[in-house]
């Protein structure tokens, strides 16, 4: 059917031929102005172009349907919008000149005979007509009684008001666009930044959360609060009974477990043998870098070929058992307060983790927990720990003219069995020096350090176990020097400062270890670590 407002192109095409066809004898020409305005040629080309585009799009859709692929909706919508724009323009142009023409249906046959009058009528559909009248009434509400020109004026004022409102709204929008930087097409140029305080808070929360989820920091309940509740949740009600639960929490073993857990978490930091921490220049939170958390015991590598000082350093089984027994006694004797203190220290900064690592990386092969405790407690428990430290000191220091045979140290472990509460690596270094063949250099050094330490409070530390050879001269020196029991960080710092003027390598190493233990921001100690490691692994 051509007689449709939507088929304007065909209408435009058909009307002139129809006019000419009806009256062949009278060759009428359209008014040249109208003809020019109509611009038939361009309308034809545009209509044809539109037709081609639409058919092309339809073909694409059919291809999509056949091949079961999803069409690219973005492109399809773009094409569709182009097509509709073209059609709209053509229709607009035709509308301008359609008044000069009348639609004359050509193909009247049985099908369209009935529908033609409806399509040709310009009368609105009843619904549309009703809508039109209601709108008209709404518009002319209140002014329909007035004469027409006044109605017109009122309508005009209304239009002006609406226009003014629109302009004001546009102005507001443009101002807002400028204010928020949305006006330009490039998008927002300002990246919103968090202020420092907020960022710091978030960072703190993040560290807390990460540590909690990965290592359990912040979830542990103190021993005294670990009683089974009277009403268990449903999924635990039949799992736990009162008898079971109480045994497995809380008590000294729990404290032991608690300590070891926190130690192992830090130990993971301190003992990444792969050197991952060393490779980082940024000190990370002490828990942050530990990949092998407590679940993978770092001590698993204790007897692996990886650790250099493997074979020599393993104490004999007898000594090991002895040490373990004494360790346990020590742990139980530790006051709760000190345990908490240690745990607090464990949570402190990255410096501890970074600095401690270089020293700790050598401590692979000895009994795990003993090493952990020494690293993080100020009071060292274990002789194997001491042994290892002594060996480290020996290897590192140039004061020792010869590498003390490990056997010698192992033999001396019985002597050291009473020294369970060390408060600093300086002590161990001195002890180490004392254990070696006391040459004059050692003695002068020791006297120097003795002097420095004489200022420190002499606290009695509990001695347990048998002292087999107490009359050893070096032993006497050691007893005097190691007059520090459960010391506090202040003592450590004081000791460290006093020892700075002392002997060379030993002091630096002690500083290293102390800072590792006491959370001192001695970043200058870092360069020593690669050196230490190389020396130890050689």
């Amino acid at each position: 059917m051509e007689a449709d407002g939507g088929a304007a192109p065909s209408q435009g095409q058909l009307a002139p031929p129809a006019v000419e066809a009806v009256a062949p004898p009278k060759v009428e020409r359209l008014n040249p102005v109208v003809q020019q305005q109509l611009n038939l040629e361009s309308v034809k080309t545009r209509a044809l172009g539109l037709y081609k585009t639409i058919s092309h799009i339809l073909e694409d859709f059919e291809a999509f349907a056949r091949s079961n692929t999803t069409p690219k909706w973005q492109d399809a919508l773009g094409q569709f919008s182009m097509v509709s724009m073209d059609l709209f323009n053509i229709v607009e142009d035709i509308k301008n000149v359609s008044k000069a023409f009348v639609v004359y249906p050509r193909n009247v046959n049985a099908e369209n005979a009935t529908i033609l009058p409806v399509m040709l009528s310009s009368k609105l559909l009843p619904e549309m007509e009703a809508e039109d009248t209601t709108k008209r009434e709404q518009l002319l509400l209140g002014i329909s009684g007035l004469p027409v020109h006044m109605q017109i004026e009122k309508l005009k004022t209304r239009i002006d008001m609406i226009g003014a409102a629109c302009e004001a709204a546009e102005k507001v929008i443009s101002d807002c666009r400028k204010a928020y930087g949305l006006g330009s097409r490039q998008g927002p140029t300002l990246v919103p930044t968090l202020d420092k305080v907020q960022a710091a808070k978030i960072q703190e929360q993040e560290n807390l959360l990460r540590a909690a989820v990965n290592f359990g920091e912040g979830f542990r309940i103190p021993i005294d609060q670990r009683q089974l509740p009277t009403s268990l949740p449903s999924h635990l009600a039949d799992v736990l009974s009162f008898g079971d639960g109480a045994q497995n929490l809380g008590d000294n073993a729990g404290a032991y477990g608690k300590n070891t857990s926190s130690f192992s978490s830090n130990q993971g930091v301190l003992q990444t043998a792969g050197g991952q921490l060393i490779g980082r220049s940024v000190p990370s939170p002490s828990n942050a870098v530990s990949f092998d958390n407590a679940s993978t015991p770092p001590m698993a590598y204790a007897n692996s070929p990886r650790s250099g000082t493997n074979i020599m350093n393993t104490p004999s089984p007898q000594q090991q058992v002895q040490q373990q027994q004494q360790q346990r006694q020590k742990i139980l004797q530790l006051p709760h307060q000190q345990q908490l203190l240690v745990q607090q220290q464990l949570r402190q900064s990255s410096a501890a983790g970074v600095l401690g690592q270089g020293v700790m990386s050598q401590l692979h092969d000895l009994t795990g927990q003993t090493q952990q405790k020494l690293q993080q407690h100020q009071m060292s428990y274990s002789q194997p720990m001491l042994q290892q430290q002594f060996q480290n000191r020996q290897l590192q220091t140039s004061h020792m003219p010869h590498n003390i045979a490990q056997n010698q140290i192992n033999q001396g472990s019985q002597l050291r069995s009473h020294i369970n509460q060390f408060s600093g690596s300086a002590n161990s270094a001195l002890f180490n020096a004392a254990q070696s063949s006391p040459n004059s250099q050692m003695i002068t050094n020791m006297s120097a350090s003795m002097q420095s330490q004489s200022l420190l409070p002499r606290i009695q530390f509990g001695l347990t176990g048998g002292h087999t050879q107490r009359n050893h001269p070096s032993q006497m020196l050691n007893d005097q020097m190691f007059g520090m029991g459960p010391s506090n960080p202040a003592n450590m710092i004081a000791m460290q400062q006093q020892q700075q003027g002392g002997f060379g390598n030993i002091s630096t190493h002690t500083q290293n270890l102390q800072s590792g233990m006491v959370n001192l921001p001695n970043t200058t100690q870092n360069p020593n670590f690669p050196q230490q490691r190389q020396q130890n692994q050689s």
Binding site: R210, P233, H235, G245, G368
Partner: protein
């Protein structure tokens, strides 16, 4: 083995993240409510403490228990170049007397936590699981009903994918490429590496919420 990355997101943006994940994954979300017991071995089980986690899934009508042991991370130059953490993992379903069993063997409860949130499990080259949870601590032992979030303003996002020794590179690449989609809202990194939040997350979240009409899915 599994590849894992973690990130944090502010609690206010969790809904937007959920919408984004829903769009990316195409599967409905699963509720997560897991009571996690972290057990450490006692001294009778060796000088080296080991850790085992028992997970009780409370979102199911009947609680299901899983035992899980996460091993050490892969190390080396290759591991450092990966943006994900690759670690060995052993996981198994167990019956509900697993806790008793572990206690009898000598494990002690080190800590427990409650994880509440949601998870998306979908397939994108490899099966990937994205969990968004808030870690809640219990003030008293086993007091689930009194659990409070440890960090109310921040939740943890964890993306894991199972891997094997021979395909962990592909798995790592798949996880990394998926993480790219989440960049507007959060940064992801290896567990333990701190990332911070995304400053423009608010804008991204608001656009996500407005696009969807703000409806919860």
């Amino acid at each position: 083995m599994e590849c894992v990355v973690q990130g944090i997101i502010e609690t206010q943006h969790v809904e937007a993240l959920q919408i984004l994940l829903q769009g990316l994954c195409g599967v409905p979300k699963d509720r997560v409510r897991v009571h996690e017991f972290c057990l450490k071995s006692g001294p009778n089980l060796g000088v080296v403490p080991s850790e085992v986690r028992l997970l009780c899934d409370l979102a199911q009508p009947t609680p299901t228990w899983t035992v899980r042991h996460a091993g050490g991370a892969m190390r080396g130059a290759g591991a450092e170049q990966l943006s994900v953490l690759v670690r060995s993992v052993v996981e198994s379903k167990v019956s509900n007397n697993a806790l008793r069993f572990f206690y009898a063997v000598g494990y002690k409860l080190d800590h427990e936590l409650l994880k509440i949130g949601f998870a998306f499990r979908f397939q994108r080259v490899v099966p990937i699981t994205v969990t968004v949870t808030s870690a809640n601590r219990m003030p008293r032992l086993h007091a689930i009903d009194d659990a409070v979030p440890l960090t109310p303003g921040i939740q943890l996002v964890e993306i894991t994918a199972p891997a094997a020794g021979d395909n962990y590179n592909e798995v790592a690449a798949a996880v990394s490429s998926f993480c790219e989609y989440l960049v507007p809202l959060l940064h992801l990194s290896k567990p333990g590496v701190s990332t911070g939040i995304v400053p423009t997350a608010a804008a991204a979240a608001s656009s996500l919420l407005s696009n969807s009409g703000g409806k919860a899915i």
